[in-house]
Structure formats: C-alpha cells, structure tokens
Amino acid sequence: MALILSGDEEQFRDSVRRVVVERSPLSKLRELMSSGQPYDADVWKQLSELGLPGLVIPEEHGGAEAGYSVLSVALGELGAGLVASPLLAGTLAAGALLRLGDEAAQARLLPGIASGELIATLASGGTGTARADGDTLTGEISPVLNAAQARVLLVPAVDGPAEDGPAEDGPAEDGRATVLFEVDAAAPGVTITPLPALDHSRSLARVTLDGAPGRRLDGDAAAALGFATDLANLALASEQLGAMAACLLMTAEYAKIRIAFGRPIGSFQGVKHRLAELWTTWELAQAALRDAARAADERPADFPRAALVARLAVSASYVDAAVATVQLHGGIGFTWEHDAHVYQKNAMSQHALFGGTDEQLDRLTALLGARG
C-alpha cells in the first residue's frame, strides 16, 4: 500500500493538467459566469475523451476501470483549475449504481455515463427527502448537482406514502426502507429549478417531485447511498486539495513580488508563517487523501473511515486558505477581477456540500467506536 503516486498516475495527472491549463484556464470560468452556461461543452468533451467519466466504471460497461486513485488524481487537477463539469454528479451516480448492484440499471445507464454523453446525478448531498407511493415520487431535494442538465436523476426515497406518518420524522421512521429510483428528468411531475450558486463552477438546482414516475431499482439502497457519501468525501477532498494548493501557490508567488516597506511581503513573518502553516495542513491532508484513495481501491472495508479523515483534514482548511488568499493579497484580492474570490466561493460551497464538519465528525466517531 504505497502512498506515493505510481508512474502511470503521474502521467495521467500530467495529461489532465495539460487539458486544464490549455483548454480550461480560469478565464473560461469567467466566460461561463457571463454567459450563464453551467459548463463548457467542448471542455467536457475533452475530459470525456481522456476517459474521466468512466474511470471507475468497469470495462464491460464502457468504462476504463482505472480505479479510485486515478480518479482522485484527476479530480485534484480539475479542482485546482476550478473546472466546471458534470463529472462529480456522474461519478456519484455511477458509484451508487455500482454498489447497488442492479445489473439491468447498470447496463442501461453506465455506458452513457462512462462516455460522457449521459448526464446523470444523484439527488443527495443537500437537504430534503422524497417519498415513494408505489412507483410515484413526491418530495423536494436541494441542492442537487447538475440537476438542470441531467437526463437521469437517481432519487433516494422512503418507501411508503406520506399519509401513513408524519413526513418530518425522516427516512428511518417505521423502519421503512430507503429505495433508489431512476427518474427521467423530463417526466411529468418533475420540476427542476436552477438555483443561483455561490460557486460559479458548480451548477446546482432544486428538484421538486410531485407524483413523478420513477423506476424502482433493485439492491441495497442504504449501502449504495452510504458508498456514495464516502465517494463524495473522496471526490470533494480531491478537488479541495487541488484548489487549496492552487490558492497557496498563487499567494506565495504574489508574496514574492509584492513590495511593501521596501521588501517583498513574503519576507515578513506575518505573511510567511501564515502560508507555512496552511502549507503544513495541506501536506498532511494530501497524505490522508492518498490513503483514502488507496483504501477505495484496495481496502474497501477501511474506505469510509479513510475518506472521512481525508475530507475532514482538508475541507475547513481549504476555506481557511481561500480566506487567507484574499487577505494576504490585500486590496487587490478583494476585487472582482482577481481570482481570490472565485476560490473563496468554491471553498465555501465545497465545504457545505455532502455533510458539514459536525456531521462528518459524528460519523467518524460512530465508525471508530464500532471498530473499538
């Protein structure tokens, strides 16, 4: 179990980095901000040609079956460049389907996800729940990744009509199971409302279901959702680590050339120590991330814990680093033209999605307690 990257992983990282630098520099995000497009279709095509949407999908379903460590490396590069794409949405949907084990659904959906042509998303990670009355779904879930572009929504729903009990009691009430449904985004009764997103690289929407038809999927939905949560931790931590490094390197570069009181501001300990502190946090989180990615590939039983450690190690620290990026740049860092605020918004948004700190710490406590 090596934490260092293999030669292949380094090579793949470099090819993703090249696409990001050449095809999706931060100016691309600025273009999207003014055009209102959720992501650049050409960039998504490039990333699909590199195989990114199918990295963890088996070859029999058209994927590359390259594994979670490679996925993590790729997401790190996309995170560093704040590349807008439906990759996370599709990856979580694919992860849930793989764990669920409904073979018909896998054969129906995974090849499209793997090629990048089918935009699918998992309606999870925010707040709200849906209920299933037979194969009809009602409820509201928000915010959902790329829901406004998705053709297929995977919707977790509590099995049983709402009038049987108070909806506020949550999914576990009456011991009723959670089931995963495949919902056609264009079906009647499905309303998708794009929401103004804090982070311009994320397209998020509210999904409202009012008697919408769903296709019931076979398998252990709770396990599938649990895995999707772990995968979200790994994927977000990968993006966050990449973006945090970008913030710190950008700030360090500026601290070398910005002169105040006759010397570069990076020579002042107030600046130097803040950056050193954040870099130390980054180094530790990077090691934790490598471990989580390896666990996903090699030690599945250990993956939930390792993914929590990685996410907790980076999530709040990235917010800290992004805020420091604005602060250490001074006035220029507070302008619209500067990229600091784009990272700060990304950091705050990433930190809020798929479980806040307390929720994650409580999950970790439960896992550690169970392990003894």
């Binding site: 990076g266 020579s267 530790l284 090691a287 450690v309 907790l312 710490l361 970790l364 550690l368």
Partner: protein
C-alpha cells in the same frame, strides 16, 4: 537494490528481532530504559554484531552499506519492539551522519565504529542560554593554542550529557566576522578536565536535560569537524537530521495523549458520549492519522530516492502542533481533574501535556520551522536581517534589558 534482497533482509531482521528484542509494552518509558546503560550498550553491540547497526553507513566505518529500503524495512519490523538503545539515538542520528559527511578519514575510523557498536555514547552541544532559535549567536569560544584549541563557555538543553563520552560542540572561533562565518564544530571529550555537567530541571519537575560548562577545556589537534569557521554548514547538516528524527517519531498508540488513550479515558470517566467532546476527539484522530500518514509518505519518498529536504520541517511542525492540540483535548477530557487529582493516570496525561515544549521548542521552535517551510518549501524571501552582515562582536545577542 533488488526487491528480493530487501525481502530477504526483512525476513532476517524479523527473525532476529523475534529472537532477541523485547516486545513493546504499555509501561515503556524512555527514562526508565535509559537508567540501564550497561544493558543498552550490550544490546547495541548485539545489534552491531548481527549486522543491524549503521545499515546505510559504509562498510569501512562499521556500517552495512545498505540502502534506505533496508533501513525502512528494519524500522517497520522493529516498530513492535522496544529496542533498548535510546542512549544512542542522538549520536547515531546527528553527530554520526555529520562526521560521515564532513569528518576526516581519521575521525571516521576512530569514532564511527565505536559509536555503532555502542561502545561510546555521543551528545550534541549547540544551544546556549543566549542562543536557542538563533543558535548562530552562540558565545562559547574556542581559541587556538598551537595545534590545540581551548574551549570556554556554557551549553544548555544537552540530552544525555551525563553519560556521554563525546560531544559535537559549536564554538565561536572568529568574532570579527558575521555570526554564521565565525563558528567551528569540534569533537569534545566529555571526560576531559574542565567539563562540568549539571542536570537541568524542567517544567514537569523532571531532569531530562543538562547544562554543560566548559572551563579551559583543551581540544587536541584533529578535533575540528569540517573546516575551521565553516561550522555553520556542519550545524545545518546536523539539524536537518535532527528534524527528520523528531518529526517522524510519531506518537505511539500508548502515548497518554493519543486518540486511543484519551478516548478510553473519556469512556472510563463517563464523558465519552458528550457530543462536543467526542467531536474534539474525532478531530484529534483526524490530525493524528494525517501526521502519521505524512510520515509514511516522507519515508516512501525517501525510499524512492527523493530527499525529504526541508519537508522534514513540515513533519516536525505538524507533530508539535498535534501534541499541542492533543493537550487541549486532554484538558477537556479531564475537566476539573486538571486542577487536582490523586489519579496516577491523570498525572501521566498532565505530565505529557506539560512536556510539549519538548517537541514545539526543541530541535528548532515551531516559529523557526515556519520560517524554513516558508523560505525553503514555498520559496519566500528571507528576512533581510542586519545579523547576517554585521560582525558578530558588534551584534546584540541574548536577552537585553533597558536600564
């Protein structure tokens, strides 16, 4: 180095350790093992004779001429054991590698084999009362007298001085040039006339360190490590080794401040279910695990031929900050028992918490590590201090009160 030969080596080490080394136990305590010098010397000699000492050192100086891969394999195999070799930790980790890198042929032949075989114990004499973080401001002097030198001054925070045979000491040999340019590193015989060692009592009440006084101590010809007035370079080599040593030690599961110990203590006290406290404990777990994984990453990088370089400072800083955080969590776990308790367990936790400066100050304070990380990892410019260009004898040093 082929993978097969590393595997063979690992198997040989595993078998030897199982046969000869004491298992790690809950009650392991470095000071207790240190008391038994004779036993430690005997064990180090056994290690040496079995071919497990100085793994990466050249054969002509008593080493095994192996690679980092074997070194790491041995470390992994030895983790389950409490090897009684604590008194050699400093010599083999710092003065040893420095002599190997900068010493003369005579010095290497004379000192290294005996160091490896545990026949002679070494200490390191850098810090002074007026020169800690800024160790280049040291005022201990060595004055040339024919072929010999005469050493005068005071050192502090010297671990193991009371039982050391030799020390690597930094002294000022030219006060008329800027501070970094007038320092020389010497080998000093700790049994020589004029050397006085006194125990130094620290905040916990224990005496893990010493003060060392030099009064007209004569250093024979051939005592200089490296070049005269080039001692700063030797010191940098040695400090780099020290940081890697301190940073990658890691807190064992049995440390009173580990997640494992503190969560057990919380459960025993009945406050383990408190959500605020359990979150802090989980956060401690995250930090402890990350520091340990970072240590593993550095070791893997070293094994694949990448020098950890200044990132040893990241490990050192992270380890020290982990300890500080663990101390805060420990206080939350203990509650009012922090103020008074007759429990031995509580005293152990408090002792560990109060010992934290042992990692956050020793081997370069956290603040110095942040300078190193900022300057040598992130490439930020150095502070343009006057101390780098002013002759030492015109510089203000130490603690100065306005009167």
């Amino acid at each position: 180095m082929s993978e097969q030969s590393v595997t063979d080596f690992r198997n040989r080490a595993r078998a030897w350790l199982a046969e000869n080394a004491p298992r790690r136990g809950a009650g392991d305590d470095e000071s207790a093992t240190r008391a038994d010098l004779a036993a430690q010397k005997e064990f180090q000699a056994k290690l040496y004779d079995a071919g497990f000492a100085g793994l990466t050192w050249p054969r002509e100086y008593g080493g095994q001429g192996l690679t980092n891969a074997e070194q790491i394999a041995f470390g992994q195999e030895a983790r389950r054991y409490a090897l009684p070799v604590g008194v050699f930790f400093i010599g083999l980790g710092m003065p040893g590698p420095t002599i190997l890198e900068l010493g003369t042929e005579e010095q290497k032949k004379r000192y290294l084999p005996k160091m490896l075989r545990g026949e002679e114990i070494w200490c390191q004499l850098f810090s002074e009362p007026a020169a800690g973080s800024d160790v280049a401001s040291l005022t201990t002097t060595a004055v040339r007298d024919g072929d010999e030198w005469v050493l005068d001054g005071q050192k502090v925070w010297t671990s193991g001085a009371q039982y050391s045979d030799y020390g690597a000491v930094l002294a000022r040999t030219d006060p008329t040039v800027p501070k970094h340019n007038g320092i020389t590193m010497f080998i000093v015989d700790m049994h020589a006339p004029g050397v006085t060692v006194r125990p130094l009592k620290v905040a916990t009440g224990a005496t893990p360190f010493n003060e060392v006084f030099f009064d007209q101590v004569r250093l024979p010809a051939g005592s200089v490590i490296g070049e005269v007035n080039d001692g700063w370079r030797a010191a940098v080599v040695m400090l780099r080794n020290e940081r890697v040593n301190i940073g990658t030690m890691g807190a064992p599961r049995t440390s009173p401040l580990s997640y494992h110990s503190l969560s057990s203590l919380a459960a025993k006290q009945g406050n383990g279910a408190d959500p605020g406290l359990s979150r802090k404990l989980a956060e401690l777990y995250v930090r402890e695990r990350s520091v340990s994984l970072f240590g593993q990453l550095l070791r893997e990088e070293a094994m694949s031929g990448r020098d950890p370089g200044p990132r040893g400072s990241v490990a050192k800083l992270a380890g020290a900050e982990l300890g500080t955080y663990a101390s805060l969590v420990a206080a939350d776990v203990l509650g009012p028992a922090v103020a008074a308790s007759d429990s031995e367990e509580v005293r152990e936790v408090l002792n560990a918490a109060l010992s934290m400066p042992g990692s956050s100050v020793a081997g370069g304070t956290n603040e110095i590590q942040r300078n190193i990380i900022g300057e040598r990892v992130l490439g930020l410019p150095k502070d343009p201090g006057v101390d780098r260009s002013t002759p030492f004898n015109q510089l203000r040093v130490g603690t100065m009160r306005k009167n």
